[in-house]
């Protein structure tokens, strides 16, 4: 069984199998760009993630948290901009994946060599 906590706030109105609401409020981005007024908003009724969700790629050992604070980084804006969507987006083709791994390998090797020398 999944261990869950009592939920004290009004937003958590109970859900199947736990007392966490199946719906939540979340920031939603609707398309690429940097006109944040148009593409970014807080919306209600977003499905609350659960431990049974299929996790995003490269993500394992998931744990559910009630979010208190979120820090932004350049990557947040870059992903949203679409300027790197072929590499940081969802739909890759095979050669893109292979080349990406080669790039990561070369940069990692660079770091290792740097420390060694």
């Amino acid at each position: 069984m999944v261990q869950t906590s009592p939920i004290p706030q009004a937003a958590f109105v109970g859900g199947s199998g736990s007392n966490i609401s199946p719906k939540m409020q979340a920031a939603i981005c609707t398309s690429y760009g940097n006109n944040f007024d148009d593409i970014l908003s807080i919306q209600n009724g977003i499905a609350t993630p659960t431990l049974d969700d299929k996790p995003p790629s490269g993500f394992k050992n998931g744990m559910l948290i009630k979010v208190l604070s979120v820090a932004l980084a350049p990557g947040d804006v870059r992903v949203m901009s679409g300027k790197t969507k072929e590499f940081q987006g969802k739909r890759y083709d095979v050669h893109m994946i292979i080349y990406s791994y080669v790039c990561i390998y070369l940069i990692a090797t660079n770091n290792i060599l740097c420390r060694a020398l």
């Binding site: 939540m24 559910l64 980084a73 992903v79 790039c103």
Partner: protein, 311 residues
């Protein structure tokens, strides 16, 4: 679930580095016999896994491999800042040796604000910063020995003391300092950094153009791979007597070792989380949009943080 997968699967929820309270943990891994190391009610800080997305909501799934319990006395805003930029600052500071003279480009941003503190902790003898708010760099907790405004002062030519007593290490967090060093070398004017054969090191976390676009493998190669490999090799083989050793540092380990270390440093008051004074931004339409605008400007003074809920 499409909301947490991310682009180009729209809509998605942005946000990657987070602090929150554990409300559900996975059951015991029966194959490995391992129980989750966290329990319901723990206040944890987590770095993003793979892609920065899925965190900016009331609830989020985090990867237990890249998070740790937040020590008492650290706010949720501070913890979110630490697990993101603070952690990178800690990793970069490992390149510092006792007595190094250090120059940091982009010293006022999220990573820079934490790196300024960490290089002092590591025993640097002199720390100088470049940003658009030099006064802040010289105040606590950053405590730089000297700072300049890049809009008013050219770091490569205008500070005589830096040319007379060049740095051991340059951290380029804003991008574009290497071409300036090459230009200096070609003009045969005194360099502000020691050459590689005398211990000079140049470390960066960004390409020359921080607003880079990558749409093809060729662009990936010409933006990241070719310049970093060329500079890495030439600075060690061909120009080690005139240029510092170049390194492009990837500072995102996929384990909790540095997360633990960063939070411990903060608990021991050796690292103070730095949050842009305009924040923490409220979890409203305007608040979130303003936070993204500030992040996009690359002129944040510390970390851009959004407060989603009270503790």
């Amino acid at each position: 679930m499409s909301c947490t997968i991310g682009p180009p699967s729209f809509p998605y929820t942005p946000g990657g580095d987070v602090c929150g309270i554990v409300v559900a943990v996975p059951e015991e891994d029966k194959k490995k016999g391992e129980k989750c190391k966290f329990k319901v009610g723990d206040k944890i800080a987590a770095r993003f896994a793979n892609k920065p997305m899925g965190m900016l909501g009331e609830y989020a799934l985090v990867n237990t491999d890249i998070c740790d319990v937040v020590p008492d006395g650290i706010s949720s805003e501070g913890a979110a800042a630490l697990v993101s930029s603070g952690m990178v600052g800690v990793i970069l500071s490992d390149y510092i040796k006792e007595g190094d003279r250090v120059l940091i480009f982009g010293a006022g941003g999220g990573v820079g604000s934490h790196l300024c503190q960490m290089v002092k902790n590591q025993g640097a003898s002199y720390v100088a910063g470049v940003s658009n708010d030099p006064k802040r760099l010289m105040e606590s907790p950053l405590n730089c020995d000297y700072a300049i405004d890049y809009k008013k002062t050219n770091a490569f030519t205008d500070v005589k003391e830096w040319q007379e007593n060049p740095f051991d290490v340059i951290f380029d967090l804003s991008g574009g300092a290497w071409p300036q060093l090459v230009k200096q070398k070609k003009s045969k004017s005194p360099s502000i950094i020691k050459p590689g054969n005398k211990g000079g090191r140049y470390l960066t976390t960004t390409p020359d153009n921080p607003w880079f676009e990558l749409h093809t493998v060729v662009a990936m190669f010409s933006t990241f791979i070719a310049p970093s490999l060329k500079r890495y090799l030439s600075s060690r083989l061909l120009s080690r007597r005139s240029m510092p050793k170049y390194s492009y540092v990837l500072a995102l380990p996929s384990n909790d070792v540095v997360v633990k270390r960063t939070l411990k440093l903060a608990a021991d008051e050796k690292l103070v989380p730095c949050i842009d004074p305009k924040g923490p931004f409220p979890f409203t339409n305007e608040g979130v949009r303003d936070a993204f605008r500030l992040q996009e400007s690359r002129h944040a003074k510390g970390k851009v943080v959004i407060k989603v809920a009270e503790e």
